[in-house]
């Protein structure tokens, strides 16, 4: 495995107002990703996806702290790595792109300068060599007239172009892993599709592994091998995409699927009915998403759960993760296929 995360726990310092103690916003997350594979991390906003990604890259903000767990990347535990070791991994072996293509590029530096930076720092390339390579990278990510665009400032580029430039920066040193945190959420539908096509193409060409963070299940169905469903800091269900989305076992997964209009049984075969390209919808499930600082006791999802709402055990105990074959699920009331049929 290229990347194996075991029992990752990340806590946020006390928020003061209510005198809350430190809250675990990432609570016992485990997942693994093979070289060249694509894993998706899915969940409502606030479920801890970004903090999971930042924990992997060891880029947590000051208010957050990696409390326990292991992040084994290419045989090395990043949790115990020093800052100097991390600098030789970030941008070289593992790279990350962010949700905001508008603000993730430096407004006063040219696109070319920013793409050349990792090459100059990690590869020790000369300025002209790095510039030539930056032009080549711009061409590879599908930016027209790269010789001209290399000297452009970010404000001269469209949102889609900026995200392409970000991808060029991240992939400049040919990393083995790309963590993409909602890379297309801020873009409109056609551009979204183009960016995902580009990522797929780069993956095939370079054997890059992709950890894709999104809340777009249709996208997951199209591009990912494995999917991990996150709720309130925990992974509640995971497994091969076709199996999990075709026959969800966790009521939360089933509820997520139900929020997708026009979602049919053929999702099980991995080709979701796409219809016209449209903006990914935020899944809307009745009830309030669990907040890390006020996580309900027992199963965090139980107040919104059709099955376990009134169940004494669901309200009292945290369901453990049960592994079965390639799939795992954390639920006392796992759905069988018939029940899913009744629910959907």
């Amino acid at each position: 495995m290229l990347l194996t995360i075991e029992n990752l726990r990340t806590v946020i310092a006390a928020t003061g107002v209510d005198g809350d103690g430190p809250a675990a916003v990432v609570d016992g997350v485990s997942l693994s990703l093979a070289a060249g594979g694509t894993a998706a991390l899915v969940g409502e906003s606030g479920s801890g996806k970004t903090l999971t990604a930042l924990s992997i890259m060891r880029l947590l903000p000051e208010s957050a702290r990696l409390a326990s767990g292991r992040v084994i990347f290419e045989g090395r535990d990043l949790v115990t790595a020093t800052e100097a070791e991390l600098r030789r991994i970030r941008g070289v072996r593992a790279a990350m792109i962010f949700q905001e293509p508008m603000t993730s590029l430096n407004p006063v530096l040219t696109v070319g300068f920013q793409i050349a930076e990792p090459l100059r720092v990690h590869r020790g390339m000369s300025r002209p060599a790095a510039r030539r390579e930056a032009i080549e990278l711009l061409r590879r990510v599908g930016i027209p007239a790269p010789q001209r665009r290399v000297d452009a400032h970010p404000h001269e580029l469209s949102g889609g172009m900026r995200q392409r430039a970000m991808i060029a920066m991240a992939l400049a040193c040919r990393p083995a892993l790309l963590v993409a945190d909602e890379p297309t959420t801020a873009l409109d539908a056609t551009v979204q599709a183009q960016i995902m096509a580009l990522l797929g193409e780069l993956r095939r060409q370079t054997g890059l592994a992709l950890l894709l963070i999104t809340h777009d299940l249709r996208l997951v169905a199209r591009v990912a091998d494995d999917v991990h469903i996150m709720y309130a800091g925990r992974i509640v269900e995971s497994g091969p995409v076709a199996e999990v989305l075709g026959a969800p076992r966790h009521p939360y997964t089933a509820a997520l699927l139900r929020t997708l209009p026009g979602w049919g049984g053929d999702a099980a075969r991995g080709n979701a009915p796409l219809g016209e390209p449209r903006r990914a919808r935020l899944p809307v499930i009745p009830g309030e998403p669990a907040h890390a600082h006020r996580r309900p006791g027992g199963c965090a999802f139980h107040p919104r759960c059709e099955v376990g709402k009134d169940d004494a055990r669901c309200r009292a105990e945290v369901p453990p993760v049960e592994r079965r074959g390639a799939r795992s699920c954390a639920c006392f009331k796992e759905l069988s296929s018939e029940r899913v049929g009744a629910l959907v």
Binding site: R90, V92, M96, F98, T103, S104, N106, L109, E117, P118
Partner: protein, 303 residues
């Protein structure tokens, strides 16, 4: 709100009439003072007691001082010294202030708190006292500096000049430090800094090559406004007799010499008016340029 705000910085600056005019004036003053330096260098020292305190004549268009030295040469020379002292002091202030503020802002936390507390303390000290302290302690050091051959590194009058520049820069960096620190503090939370860290770039590189270029605007404005302030401070010290020392000359020193000769019997007006006017006009122009730059910059941010 003005409509049709030009998009480029220069486009906006060009609309600030007064600032453009002032900039032209400053460039002219600087050019004239600098190009005449080879002539004024010796002429401003040439004494002729027979010609002392002459009002403007054909041979001395701006009159002569109490030792019969040509005021035109002295004013041009004084301008070169005043301006270069102002520029040097501003450069010192910007260098210290930017480095200090950038480190405090980027490191943050306790280091930042401590560094900024120190700035508060220095702020509270009387500037004049600090300047005199620096002048005396630095001056003694510099005068003792010798080349291996035994010759002094700097002649006495240049020691004084260097000391004034460093001392004035050394007390006026506090504002830059505060401004830069505040900006770095907010810039380091920007996603592009996170992106740079995700690329494994070293901290110093992120600070100098990714964060500081975003501060070029405010720093240039500050530097422009720091020049007149430094010139003024030197003039003030000259009035108190602790500025640059004769035979060195600055506009401030010339004006204070003129003022010293004020008496109820005869008014040597040219000794006060000429350096005074040169000083005031230049300071005014520098301030106009600084304000114009600031306005042109802040409009871009939509303020």
């Amino acid at each position: 709100m003005r409509n049709h705000s030009p998009r480029t910085f220069w486009g906006r600056f060009r609309r600030e009439r007064l600032a453009v005019l002032s900039l032209a004036f400053l460039v002219a003053v600087l050019l004239i003072c600098a190009t005449t330096l080879p002539f004024t260098w010796s002429r401003m020292r040439a004494q002729n007691l027979a010609d002392a305190r002459q009002p403007p004549t054909w041979s001395h268009p701006l009159g002569t001082d109490e030792l019969g030295r040509d005021m035109l040469a002295r004013t041009l020379y004084g301008g070169a010294i005043s301006l270069s002292l102002g520029l040097l002091a501003a450069a010192v202030a910007v260098a210290i202030g930017t480095t200090y503020g950038a480190i405090a802002g980027y490191v943050g936390g306790r280091v930042d708190a401590l560094m900024m507390r120190l700035v508060d303390v220095i702020y509270a000290l009387p500037t004049l006292l600090l300047l005199m302290l620096l002048t005396v302690s630095l001056g003694a050091r510099l005068e003792q500096l010798r080349w291996p051959s035994g010759a002094p590194v700097l002649g006495a009058e240049w020691v004084r000049f260097a000391v004034m520049a460093v001392a004035i820069g050394g007390v006026s960096w506090l504002t830059v430090a505060r401004v830069v620190r505040g900006q770095v503090l907010s810039l380091r939370e920007q996603p592009f800094v996170e992106a740079a860290r995700a690329l494994g770039l070293p901290t110093w590189r992120i600070l100098w090559r990714h964060i500081l270029p975003n501060l070029a605007g405010p720093i240039i404005v500050f530097a422009t406004l720091a020049v007149p302030q430094a010139i003024l401070q030197e003039s003030f010290l000259s009035f108190l007799g602790v500025g640059v020392q004769p035979p060195q000359a600055t506009w401030g020193l010339l004006a204070s010499d003129g003022v010293r000769l004020l008496n109820p019997v005869r008014f040597y007006w040219w000794l006060v008016v000429v350096p005074g006017l040169a000083l005031s006009l230049t300071l005014l122009a520098l301030n106009f340029v600084g304000d114009g730059l600031r306005d042109a910059l802040s409009e871009r941010k939509g303020i």
